[in-house]
Amino acid sequence: MGVTCVCQVPVAEGKSVQQTVDILHRKLEQLGAVKQGNFCVDCETYHAAGSNTSGQPPKFLYVMHNTETPLSCLALFEGGPYLTADGNFDVLMVKLKSHFQNAKGHKVESRGSRYQYCDFLIKVGTVTMSSSARGISVEVEYCPCVVPGDCWNLMKEFMQSFLGPSIPELPSVYTTKPEGLYVPVDSTDTMTQYLELFGKVRKQQLRSERVVFVLRKHLTGTVAWVWVAQQCVQKRTEVAMLTLFSGIKASSRLFSLTSLCPAPGHAS
């Protein structure tokens, strides 16, 4: 394992997820990268049973697969230990149903093409959540180096050559670890980065779902607003969300004034 960096690439202005992915493919091919098949990283979420009753926040267990290591899978406890297990660890999880429940609809995966350029491996994937494309992930691995701090500038220069100037910082997996600057032989660091990215994508989705919820609550009956909100959610742009929020504030005041709709707080 070399040094890897997984980052989320924003969807290009006015383009769909697939179009943005195609643009990235074209840029890589222009650079001289050669396509070498496909890849997939997926993640199942389980919660520990009984954690809800004790009043503590639910504890999550993530089971991840990576086509790069097809015979094994990785089980990560949120903020805790992890283990590398055989590929059919999922079967064991079914047996452990009474302890860990599969959070249905929480399955996330990133699927796409794998490219090679000199000593670099590049994977451009579409992040899919409940069967709809939610974002783009790009993983870059520089295989001959094992010290992230050593080759970070070099990787940044490479990523800039096809991602443009908006380059992530050194992944926090590398900066936060005490022994820090040395990559383990397994792919834990890569998977941790994917897990972070999936979490980020999920949060973005939750935020958009909350907007719809808030709208439904405040603007009962105004179907048009809900429709507008859903359209914005489909685009998934932060700016659209903010405009929408300020729109709700203004309009809810308006609605409460004209008594077309109960004021916020009275709704529940």
Partner: protein, 273 residues
């Protein structure tokens, strides 16, 4: 009567003609004798001996034999001089690199071992461990998997691992691999043959081989090993140093893999000229 007269007349004409001819031959002979007296005695001490007389040829333009001869002479003189130097150098370090030569000559006469190739292993160990102590970020392990010849395993920081195959104190060949690459073959022996999987380290191996040919000092093999290790150590910042010419980290996907032999500055392979 008339016939007799004409016969006498013809005899007379022939005799005068003959006398004229004889006189001219005599004259020419006299002239030649005079001229030959004028030619001085050729000097015996000419550096080219008798061939030096060619220089006396007055028609230089048509037959430039003499100048050609001089050039050939100078050339063969130089050749002899250089051959002499080369033979004295080769005698000190007669590493027979071609197997062909070894097989043919080894049977007939016992090979003369040059003195620098039969250093005691203990001495080699000492030199290597002294060099190892000079560089704290470099560990040098010494193995002798095949008889007396040493194989060095050089680990440079967390950047690279180099296998250096020695013959006595001379470096025979070297292979550079990534820090995370396998050093041992499937049979558990040190793999001193297969090249690195990464293009960066294939390039570094090429340059290290060039360095081996550059640092040559047959009289002081320990200095050569030390110079080579100093050069190799400059790769500790292989991934961190931008090219000294173009200022970039990457060119064609490779970092600067060339290190100047004197200044140890980093360059891309194509930026070094």
């Amino acid at each position: 009567m008339k016939n007799k007269e004409t016969l006498e007349g013809r005899e007379k004409v022939f005799i005068t003609d003959f006398q004229d001819n004889l006189q001219s031959v005599n004259r020419d002979l006299n002239e030649l004798e005079r001229l030959s007296n004028l030619v001085g005695r050729p000097s015996e001490s000419h550096p080219l001996h008798n061939s030096g007389l060619l220089s006396l040829d007055p028609v230089q333009d048509k037959t430039p034999l003499y100048s050609q001869l001089l050039q050939a002479y100078k050339w063969s003189n130089k050749l002899q001089y250089h051959a002499g130097l080369a033979s004295s150098l080769l005698n000190q370090q007669s590493l027979k690199r071609s197997a062909n030569q070894m097989g043919a000559s080894a049977k007939r006469r016992p090979k003369v071992q040059p003195s620098t190739l039969v250093l005691p292993p203990q001495y080699v160990d000492d030199v290597i461990s002294r060099i190892g102590r000079m560089f704290p970020d470099m560990t040098i392990e010494l193995f002798r998997p095949n008889g007396t010849s040493a194989v060095l395993l050089v680990t440079l920081g967390k950047v690279l691992k180099a296998i250096v195959v020695m013959r006595s104190l001379f470096i025979d060949r070297t292979i550079v691999r990534a820090f995370n690459e396998n050093l041992y073959a499937e049979d558990g022996k040190l793999d001193i043959w297969s090249k690195s999987n990464y293009q960066v380290f294939q390039k570094v191996t090429d340059h290290a081989t060039t360095a081996l040919l550059h640092y040559q000092l047959p009289q002081m093999p320990d200095v050569v090993v030390r110079s080579f290790m100093t050069w190799l150590r400059s790769f500790i910042k292989l991934f961190q140093t931008p090219c000294q010419r173009c200022g970039k980290y990457l060119q064609d996907g490779l970092p600067p893999t060339w290190r100047d032999f004197r200044t140890l500055e980093a360059f891309h392979d194509s930026c070094r000229q």
